[in-house]
């Protein structure tokens, strides 16, 4: 079948989505920030957003590396 590597890439992306979601829920979501009074909720969201953004950047970086690994022949072409 043509484009077998692309099917593999789709599958890897799917696995990364599930693993990323697991990280988000198991590790980041339970984090709580206290000691800033009314600003607790804001700080809490900001820190979680920052971690989520770092995770997204890491996700894109990983995906980019996997893309180069899977498609190295095609990318060279």
């Amino acid at each position: 079948m043509k484009g077998t590597q692309i099917f593999l890439f789709v599958f890897v992306m799917w696995v990364l989505i599930i693993v990323g979601g697991g990280l988000l829920i198991s590790i980041i979501a339970p984090l709580t920030i206290n000691g800033h009074g009314k600003l607790d909720s804001l700080f809490d969201s900001a820190v979680k957003a920052l971690i989520a953004m770092i995770l997204v950047v890491a996700w894109i970086f990983t995906l980019s590396k996997i893309k180069n690994w899977i498609f190295h022949k095609q990318i060279k072409n």
Partner: protein
């Protein structure tokens, strides 16, 4: 339950037949007004009417209004308003050449009715791991999601029948997933998207008699995004859209900035002497899904479309598996 089944059949029929009947009139009207564009992948470069967005919108509005008569919910209202706004954004882009940032910003504004109508729940559900509540972040996600789904479908609209065919597969996968997670009302509201796409595919498939244009592609993509939000199936919707997401990812990671497709100087695809599609050897050309598919050797436009549809079916299966996994906790 029986009344919902009857309603589902009714809205599906309205969606399908309104596009099936109005599109030939739209084709004639566009040809009369000389609103045609060249199909560069066809021998001789036939002129094809564009945009098909108006008939797509007619199908969506007719079916969703019919549903709204029976179920006047804020979710259906959000689908109607945001989809219509996305259509207007697309229509402006069809008529005028605008900057690369226009569509994302205008589509982000189109998402505001979803927030104003309060038709979202500020949590994300992941398979196996459960749900995370993100009240402030979720609003940003709503604003972000409509431009992403709209532009993702628009970016895959590169070959005859691909955008409408891909959307048919992805939206039916979304409908099945909504039934699996027991969100029956939104599942019924999502049926028109699949049937509108299917009816439009009849005229858009190779050799195309009409192109959807930005108005058509953005309308389909934005409605898909709204359904994902109001149906609380954001992750499942993203999985069903993966081949199109890959296309955008490959494009952006090779171009490294947001630009309009008209601004691309080097085409990722060229033609062989017998007019098959072939991946370009130009290193400055962006990497796209079609270019990767063609890396194995030249193919006809129809063959490339078939590979994309196989990928769409594969992603649709993964989306449905994800929907089943939503009920499993580890």
């Amino acid at each position: 339950m029986l009344d919902k089944i009857i309603l589902a059949i009714l809205v599906s029929a309205i969606a399908f037949f309104s596009v099936y009947i109005t599109t030939p009139f739209l084709i004639k009207g566009l040809e009369k007004r000389n609103l045609t564009v060249k199909d560069y992948n066809r021998v001789g470069g036939a002129m094809v009417p564009r945009p098909g967005g108006p008939s797509i919108l007619v199908g969506i509005l007719a079916s969703e209004f019919a549903l709204y008569v029976f179920f006047p919910t804020a979710e259906i209202l959000a689908i109607l308003i945001t989809t219509s706004l996305a259509f207007v954004v697309g229509l402006i882009d069809d008529r005028r050449v605008l900057g690369g940032w226009f569509k994302p910003v205008a589509l982000a504004i189109s998402a505001i009715p979803i927030i104003l109508l309060g038709t979202y729940e500020p949590h994300l559900s992941f398979p196996l791991f459960g749900t995370v509540r993100i009240p402030e972040l979720y609003i940003a996600l709503v604003i972000f999601m409509i431009p992403v789904t709209g532009n993702t479908i628009n970016s895959i609209d590169v070959l005859n029948g691909v955008a409408s065919g891909f959307m048919t597969i992805a939206s039916f996968a979304l409908t099945i997933s909504l039934f699996i997670v027991h969100n029956y009302d939104i599942a019924i509201a999502s049926l028109p998207l699949g049937f509108v796409s299917l009816a439009f595919y009849k005229y858009h498939k190779f050799p195309s008699r009409i192109f959807p244009g930005d108005s058509g592609a953005l309308t389909l993509g934005a409605m898909y995004g709204v359904l994902a939000i109001v149906g609380h199936v954001e992750i499942i919707a993203a999985v069903a859209l993966l081949p199109a997401v890959i296309n955008s990812f490959l494009f952006l990671s090779s171009v490294k900035r947001i630009i309009e497709h008209r601004q691309i100087k080097s085409n990722p695809v060229t033609h062989t002497d017998d007019f098959k599609l072939m991946a370009t050897t130009d290193k400055d050309a962006p990497v796209t899904l079609v270019r990767l598919i063609l890396a194995g050797g030249p193919m006809t436009e129809k063959q490339v479309g078939t590979v994309i549809f196989r990928l769409a079916i594969f992603s649709a299966i993964l989306a449905i598996v994800t929907a089943f996994m939503m009920g499993v906790k580890i």
